[in-house]
Amino acid sequence: MSQHTGDYNEILYPSYLATQCSPDQLSAMARMKGLETAPPNACRMLELGCGDGASLIAYAYALPGSQFVGVDLAARPVEIGNAKIAELGMTKVTLRCADVMDIDESYGDFDFIFAHGLFSWVPEPVRYRVLEICSDRLAPNGVAYLSYNAYPGSYQRDMLRAMLQIHTRDIADPVSKIRQSLGLIDFIRSSPFRDTPYHQFIQGVHEHRGKAPPEVLLYDELGSVNQPFFFHEFAALAARHGLQFVNEAVFDQTLAGLPPPLKQALDSLGNDVVTFEQYLDFLSGRAFRQTLLCHQGIPLNHRRQWEPLTELYFAAPVLEKESKEGDPAGSRRYAGLQGRSAAVADPAVQSALKHLGGVWPAIVPFEELRTAAGGASETLGQHLLQLAEANFVKVHAHSFRLAPAVSDKPRASALARRQLGERFLANLFCEAVAVTEPLGKLVFARLDGTHTPADLAAGLGVTQEAVNKQLKDIFELGLLEA
């Protein structure tokens, strides 16, 4: 581990906001399997390997009723995070520089424990300790989240990692290590044999790298430990620590896209959820998992079901689009989150989606959509389940409070205003967003709740119309407070 902190202090792991680990999201995905978790805004949460606390600070800001503790072995990121916490006057989030080996009863119990990007990247004794903490420090109905590299897909990552390690073994300087690694990837990509699975994978790595900061390579592929697991191996490890599989942290589309004979074959596995999930990984070639665990003995319902949605909340920036060729008669096509699109034929569901789009970025309960749809619970539930699985609509366990509209004196999240100039801003439901236009940044920096749009326009020497356009964008990013 000491070797690790050396690295992590020298070149900081890029700040990362794990939206999928917020108490809101962990609770929503656990509730999908029938686990009654603590309320997201009245809970205690622990993060192992918290880095600069970017996730916990965002959660604490959005969920002021809850308490957050983060632990990391690297001192520098923890100092940076604590300075930000002090500056924002936050009292319910604490980051500690400590070894996970030293976490004991004095920390108390937690409703949610999570470790993102840790489990596969630490030595085996630390992995066991992480599972012990998840078992010992987790409240009776608590949820733990661990992400890790998964087989079979990770055999390909092993391949990349081994080559990069051979290639850079004599290079000490981390910056040259990164540059040399990218050089090797380019060398392989220059092959004329483009369509082999090998070159297809390397090309995919290159495309993926294009989106991520280069220093991620240093930790993800060049770190000294990188241990993937088959899901059944991970589940067995968890079971040895009295923990059982609840759900993945994000909806999985594999099942929805399966041809009927395969669906039937999988259904014949009955209640063996571990084997079922293992075969899903075989089908998709999965390389990464974000798994939720809880104590053994808690009854869970692993059937794919819409009913839990009636207790949850929804958001999506729905817009009606032009129909595509082949869309069913009477259907309308909508765009949802991240450009996903879906054709919906049921008129009641169409009304519900229209309502959801109209109130965006508001997060609304099932009941409100049911009213908009005119009362058909099951049809609505089935459709919402499909749309959630397709990442078209976001499911929440908590209704975050946002401004219902741009007010006279709009006020933006103080946290996000503090983050201006960093890699991302945390919005009020804990997602990483960006204000990209220069005027937008200027407007955003001034949204302390004391200026009217007219003041802002005058102060910046632009038209009020231009300011209003920026305010609308900022509002839709979920950055304005009620």
Binding site: Y155, F193, G257, P259, P261, L283
Partner: protein, 471 residues
């Protein structure tokens, strides 16, 4: 190591043929023992398919094979007895039994062995080569390699989980194939994972069904990075000689990648990066005792010592296609002349000495020798120290080898240069069966109900495949 119940499907390790190894050693500047008067050891010989082919074509040499599977050895011995091949000795046993009493071997090879045995046996293989290889001997080992092997490991992990509750080989095979079919049920997602599965399924369509037991379902399937393999060899005083596979991957690289690779000073490191570049999953590597090679040796002398043949053909005089369908571009007029001579003589062998006399000056002799060496190393031109006893014309009473005629009902028959030939038509099988040397062309045509022209065409094909004996 042989699988406990299922015998490894017949395989002919042509690349481990003593003459082929001797030629590669010759091109690295050292003189390996004469292929027609040598002792050869094969570890993990199964039913001795390779040794029987080598033994029947090199009667002056002695061949010893060992395999754990008594069933396979018994099968091989039965063949040797039936065909009167007396210079091939097969025995059932553990490779650890090879000792001083077995004497020294000029060539030692193990195909499909090293990656499939446990660690102590891998070490033992290198020990046997260290202890039993003649000073100027050559060893051949094939093994699975990374990086490509990571993809194989991926499927193996999936298959082994799926078949974990099955013990009978037949069940394991059908379960594994069933899962592969299910994973490729349309619509198949576009990913490297699914692409690999699809290619595996394609490969398995033509492979013997039991093949999957030895690859995707094997208990032991150890992969080396090339640098690890040479590191291990070095530990036993052995060093890399060459790849047995006659493909020049460097020639296939785009110019920029070739330039990058040429900046890597060390030959072994270049081989490693070549594996990265192509994603290699398998190697057939020749090794020898450290310090034997003289890579700077005179190429002119090398070519003089070889017999050379190639079906060279060209449409424009610039791009020449040769053996294995590979081609070479040359603007050198002398090389063009030599290629044309080789093409006209094919399948007759010409001596390297004689070919070089066409060059008018010592400088041009050197250039021509260099071109020929490159063509030999990339498999475009075939070279031999001891040429196969194959006929360049069918003759009046054509005769095929006893071994090939005995193999007609098998997956393949062995040619006289010990290549595996799959006979595709019943007519070819029937004709081969008749070629015991007693029948004239006219009698053969009558028995085959063919015209003489048709018979000659079929025989020309056999000549090309090196199935007919030259005396």
């Amino acid at each position: 190591m042989a699988h406990p119940t299922t015998v490894y499907p017949p395989f002919l390790a042509s690349a481990a043929h003593p003459d082929r190894m001797a030629v590669r050693a010759h091109l690295r500047g050292f003189s390996a023992p004469p292929p027609d008067r040598c002792r050869v050891l094969e570890l993990g010989c199964a039913a001795g398919w390779s040794l029987l082919a080598f033994g029947s074509t090199l009667p002056g040499s002695e061949f010893v094979g060992i395999d754990l599977s008594e069933a396979a050895i018994a099968q091989g011995q039965e063949w040797a007895n039936r065909l009167g091949i007396s210079n091939v000795h097969l025995r059932a046993g553990d490779a650890t039994d090879i000792g001083e009493a077995d004497g020294q071997f000029d060539y030692i090879f193990a195909h499909g062995f090293l990656s499939w045995v446990p660690e102590p046996m891998r070490v033992r293989v290198f020990e046997i080569i260290r202890d039993r290889l003649a000073p100027n001997g050559v060893a051949y080992l094939s093994y699975n390699t990374f990086p490509g092997g990571h993809l194989r490991e991926m499927v193996r992990g999936v298959m082994r989980f799926h078949t974990r509750n099955f013990t009978a080989d037949a069940d394991r095979i059908s379960q594994a194939r069933g899962l592969l079919g299910a994973l490729l049920e349309p619509p198949v997602p576009e990913s490297s994972y699914h692409n690999y599965l699809a290619r595996l399924a394609e490969r398995l369509e033509t492979a013997p069904p039991e093949q999957i037991l030895f690859d995707e379902l094997a208990d032991e399937n150890f992969h080396f990075y090339f640098h690890e393999f040479v590191g291990m060899a070095a530990h036993f005083g052995l060093e890399f000689l060459a790849e047995a596979e006659l493909v020049d991957f460097t020639a296939m690289l785009p110019p920029k990648a070739r330039a990058t690779l040429s900046r890597v000073g060390d030959r072994l490191a270049r081989e490693q990066y070549l594996d990265f570049f192509i994603g290699r999953a398998f190697r057939q590597t020749m090794i020898c005792r450290a310090g034997q090679q003289q890579p700077a040796a005179d190429q002119v002398e090398m070519v003089r010592g070889l017999r050379i043949a190639a079906p060279m053909a060209s449409e424009d005089g610039q791009r020449w296609t040769g053996a294995c369908g590979s081609s070479v571009d040359t603007s050198n007029a002398l090389a063009q002349t030599i290629f044309a001579r080789l093409g006209a003589a094919w399948p007759r062998m010409l001596s390297g000495q004689e070919l070089l006399t066409a060059a008018p000056s010592p400088k041009e002799v050197r250039i021509l020798a260099n071109i020929l060496v490159q063509c030999i190393e990339s498999g475009i031109v075939r070279a031999h120290i001891v040429p196969p006893a194959a006929a360049s014309q069918a003759g009046e009473r054509p005769r095929a080898s006893t071994l090939s005629r005995a193999q007609i009902g098998e997956r393949f028959v062995s040619s006289l240069s010990c290549e595996a030939i799959e006979l595709s038509t019943e007519s070819d099988k029937k004709l081969l069966d008749l070629l015991d040397g007693s029948l004239t062309r006219a009698e053969l045509a009558e028995r085959m109900a063919m015209s003489l022209e048709e018979l000659d065409a079929a025989l020309r094909n056999f000549v090309r495949l090196e199935l007919l004996e030259n005396k």
